[in-house]
Amino acid sequence: MDVISKSIQLIFSGDHDLLQIVLLSLRVSFTATFIASSLAIPFGALLTNYDFTGKRAIMVVASAFMALPPVVVGLLVYLMLSRSGPLGEWGLLYTPSAMIIAQTMLIFPIVLVLTVEALKPIKRDYSHLMNALDVPPMLRLRTMIWDARFAIYTAVLAGFGRALAEVGAVILVGGNINGQTRVMTTTIALESSKGNLELALALGLVLILLALIVNAAMHGVARIGQRYQVTRQ
């Protein structure tokens, strides 16, 4: 097919612009995923381990926030970072930092909700032992996160996928500036609005290939140490 050959051509063209765009996409999405996960995973572990009034409400809100449209997040961050906004002085608008902030906000609830779900089985299995040993909170969280890491990977990958795929937030706060804040998805959107549908699709294929590599690497990493995650009767 035309699209496939075009995408292969794109990949092997070694085009400098494309490379830059790909790298920025990865950098922004990786960083956002990293920050969101660093916050959401411990917070999710806390939520899993402690019962308090309002916890259910937090979970409902968090799972509703999985439906936060990127455009809305983008607008919020835009209004924050805009020169007339409260953080305007930082001058972050239309920089990769702004894109990272927006994506972090976007995927935080996703990683949070999925982490809480990923931790439930380990809580089932471990909580009695933790109680018996009176394990201090920090160690308890760390232990549960570590031993449920294979399930948490999925939460992180879902967040990463969302970050890599979204366009609404990054285009609003990044501006899709050529050579500076142009990423894969904004390029795809641009090309599709220019009517270059095949090129847009080919770029989409490249993006999916990229996601494939990242995911394969993660699945590879996930194999390490999985031998203790067995069961028997």
């Binding site: 009695h128 018996a132 040993l133 203790y228 067995v230 028997r232």
Partner: protein, 233 residues
């Protein structure tokens, strides 16, 4: 002498009273056998006495302190063994996580206890793959590694073969002579007779009898205990 005092302690679930109200003082020195029918509340009682289960009402104290505050100085063997998704050695070592030993001291101690329960050659295997009796041996190592002063054991030899049981009893007797107290739920009357200094008999969440082992087996007072010993319902 280590006194465990129950102050109007109860444990309810779904509005049903499962244990108590208990108002007794136990001497945790030596080996105390905990006997009673299935569903009498032995497991719940052990968890309350250990401190890992928060009573619905009342409180439990040991040497004047709330048991929930001093859990780390006691060991526990679960009726349903908790196997962390880690190696056998790591499972045992986890109970040392809060101790301030050096890493090498810890691994030495783990080694020592695994040798004691004859699982040294299984140290690096996933704990989940152990057989029922092997897992119970691991649980003993975990319960003793922290040099507790009292150990609660919930049918710790139910899956052990006769020789493992004999060794288990020998270890308990040896550790007891070093001043450690044991509260030990078992359905093996002969075992209780062999090992226990005192006997507590439970029925429907209450303590029916609390006497020296000698007295208990010679002249059982309550009808319930008599029926229990005769294998009646």
């Amino acid at each position: 002498m280590t006194l465990i005092v129950f102050h109007k302690t109860t444990y309810d679930a779904d509005g049903q009273s499962l244990v108590g109200p208990l108002n007794i003082t136990l001497d945790a020195t030596g080996v105390t056998a905990l006997l009673g029918h299935n569903g009498a509340g032995k497991s719940l009682f052990l968890q309350l006495a250990h401190g890992m289960l928060r009573p619905t009402d009342g409180r439990v104290e040991i040497d004047g302190q709330d048991v929930r505050e001093t859990r780390r100085s006691r060991g526990f063997i679960f009726q349903n063994n908790v196997l962390m998704r880690r190696s056998v050695a790591q499972n045992v070592a986890f109970a040392l996580a809060t101790s301030n030993m050096s890493a090498s001291q810890k691994s030495e101690r783990v080694d020592e206890l695994l040798a004691m329960v004859q699982l040294r050659d299984r140290a690096d295997q996933p704990a989940a793959l152990l057989s029922g009796g092997e897992a119970q041996r691991m649980a003993l190592a975990r319960a003793l590694i922290n040099e507790p002063n009292v150990v609660m054991m919930d049918e710790p030899t139910s899956s052990m073969d006769p020789s493992a049981t004999a060794q288990f009893e020998a270890i308990v007797t040896a550790v007891k002579s070093a001043g450690v107290g044991f509260i030990w739920a078992t359905h093996d009357r002969a075992q209780a007779q062999r090992c226990a200094d005192q006997v507590i008999f439970m029925e429907q969440g209450k303590i029916c009898e609390d006497s020296s082992a000698e007295d208990f087996f010679r002249m059982t007072r309550s009808d319930a205990a008599k029926r229990y010993l005769n294998g009646e319902i």
